[in-house]
Symmetry: C2
Subunit: 413 residues, 2 copies
């Protein structure tokens, strides 16, 4: 197979991204397509239309994940799964999620042009509510599909307006039906041959190093805390410095000590994303300070050890563990396949750990999985300024297409 034969169609890929970006477009170039909202449903309908034109059949599972099957429709043969999500943050960008979906569709486009060769079935996956922006938590659809989150619990989650996932899902399905689209049922935790997802990095590493392709080896593990420090309120003018029990001063000392411990751990990322003090008055000594701690590492034992080190400060504050997600290593075979494909195309690549979590973290429990990252400008994401250059889009899509062809390729040969 020559490079020429499986080349992606640049105009088609960029044109489709552009077309989807108009659904839910915001004033400053960004987009708002909340999970199961009319804008997301419209973008799903557009995808289904394009896929059906290629002979795909559309399935949906009970939590609203969409599967567009190409090849051997009707058989139970485990497909190679490729996809991402179409929902966005309330003020989101035009690449997070949708790039992986349009690139997955391009895989099917290229496969459909290779009618002379046999492939395993390939399915485009469009995961429901990856962002967690309308319905908390994030990666809800893939978590339910993989059996990591109970279906009934997910259906009962409500948005800020009080609408449940179940009701929103019913509405979205009704809208699709009204547009003439019906979806065949798909069981949860179905069998897959492999899963690959293309995504913007959402960090600055590839851009800074001039790498076109990030070969994702792992998704970092994550532990998050709420930390509460107590003190005693007092008048900022009346209470002498000596003998103050200033909760913020204590919290700052604690943060500095935690910093010192964690900075010594190689590869650890930690962030204090929120801090609040009470009563929060300019002339009152804080009686209470509360901050969050987000700690990530790709290695399970390092993450566990870091958590232990943090919890050793228990004497100075109340630590509440909010979440613990173990690191996810991706399939070494898929990692090598992506690397080989990039090399054949002459694209600079580097192995990279995903700092953010993704649907692939859940799907990795069902089948060998991998991810491909492409650079985004300044590492900016979840923001209207999110930007991925056309060349990066095309290079990433090309590597995805050839990886999927390799995974689905020519069985029996």
């Amino acid at each position: 197979m020559s490079n020429q034969e499986c080349a992606v169609n640049r105009a088609r890929v960029l044109g489709r991204l552009e077309e989807i970006s108009r659904i839910g477009a915001l004033e400053n170039g960004g987009v708002c397509r909340l999970a199961l909202a009319p804008e997301e449903t419209e973008s799903r309908a557009r995808l289904i239309g394009w896929a059906q034109a290629l002979g795909c059949v559309a399935y949906a599972d009970a939590i609203g994940n969409l599967f567009l099957r190409f090849g051997n429709v009707g058989s139970n043969e485990a497909p190679v799964l490729v996809g991402s999500h179409l929902d966005t943050q309330p003020v989101g960008g035009n690449f997070d999620g949708v790039l992986g979906v349009i690139a997955a569709l391009e895989c099917v486009e290229v496969l459909s042009s290779q009618s002379d060769r046999a492939f395993l079935p390939v399915e485009i996956a469009i995961w429901c509510n990856e962002e967690g922006a309308r319905f908390n938590p994030t990666t809800m659809g893939s978590a339910v599909h993989a059996g990591h989150f109970p279906l009934a619990d997910a259906l009962a989650i409500t948005d800020a307006g009080g609408q449940s996932v179940e009701a929103a899902l019913r509405q979205a399905t009704a809208s699709l039906r009204a547009a003439g689209i019906s979806l065949a049922p798909r069981e949860l935790a179905a069998k897959y041959r492999a899963y690959v997802e293309l995504h913007i990095e959402q960090g600055p590493v590839l851009e800074n190093e001039g790498s076109a392709i990030g070969v994702v080896t792992d998704i970092q593990g994550l532990v998050q805390y709420r930390v509460e420090v107590s003190g005693m309120a007092g008048h900022a003018g009346a209470v002498p410095m000596e003998g103050r029990q200033d909760a913020l001063t204590r919290a700052r000392a604690l943060m500095a000590d935690i910093d010192k411990e964690l900075a010594a751990i190689d590869g650890l990322r930690f962030t204090i994303g929120r801090i609040d003090v009470a009563p929060g008055s300019i002339n009152t000594i804080p009686a209470r300070a509360e901050f969050t701690l987000d700690v990530r590492h790709p290695e399970s034992d390092v993450l566990t050890r870091s958590a232990e080190q943090i919890e050793r400060f228990r004497g100075r504050a109340q630590f509440t563990r909010l979440i613990y997600q173990a690191p996810i290593p991706f399939d070494p075979e898929i990692v090598r396949t992506i690397e080989t494909v990039a090399q054949h195309r002459g694209l600079g690549s580097r192995r990279i750990v995903s700092g953010a979590t993704h649907d692939a973290a859940h799907v990795a429990a069902l089948c060998p999985a991998g991810m491909i990252f492409v650079p985004c400008r300044g590492g900016i994401s979840h923001n209207e300024n999110e930007y991925c250059a056309p060349d990066h889009i095309i290079h990433g899509t090309q590597v995805l297409v050839e990886t999927v062809m390799a995974l689905a390729g020519e069985p029996g040969q």
Copy 2:
């Protein structure tokens, strides 16, 4: 004059404090008498009634400060002024303000029993909206009276419900009139012989040192800032530690450097009472951090120098100066008089700087002024747990009475 002759009536003072504490009483022992609200007006009516029974005449100025004149009524002779305020915080205590008013009334009680001796006229002052809780700013009434704040601006200030000071004042005056109380007009910035105010310390110094009487020498000066630090948002998992532009990390380093500078300045009090970060999400690197800085010192040049030192950090943040109040030194003669009175009574006293501001800070611009502090438990104020022991109340009132008698005493002798 013997100690016996001018002794305060313990039962009367404590009983009146108890009676006023019932007006606006809250569930947990505290009180809510917002400025110009019906509860405060009712407490003013009670005071006027008690004072009228002693032969006082009630005056009010254009901003709702109340003056209850005893002796030489109708003359223009400059009186010795003694007072405080009756308004409270929304969840306030039973001593802040009201103690100084009941003690001022006790001065008139004792004077009225000394009918054989000549005194200058004495007036009880009840300042309007000292707390600044309903109408911002604090010490509004005394500031307007002293010419430090324009009357028209003050009348136009509105509360959270949109009612103006002017409308609230009209309502309060109508309520008093309906209760048969009419108020003679009093010009702003009237002439006074002296001003003395008794107040709870609102800090822990007297209690910690076991002093019954605080002889206030100065009110600290105050400079407040809003400090804004910029950074760059990013995903807590995706952006490596190196090269992060974390606004909170920067703000913490700045706070530490400011700490170091200011800790070296003797007697300076500084407080960070508020801190906020944006976007304030657990898994997002802060793009912006904002905190306040409240800095106090009794000496003008030290305060000015401290402000300069703080503003030298301009390169690292945006500093907005919110307020600058110069320190107020009290009259050395009055300070000595209070000290002598306490000594004669055998009460332990110490010189003390007021950390909080008070109406006396404004009145000090019109006449020689001074303040007397008494201990409050744990330094707690603006709180339902505010507590001043009966002995401290009586000792403070006794010192106030004798100080006023000394200031108003026996002219021509």
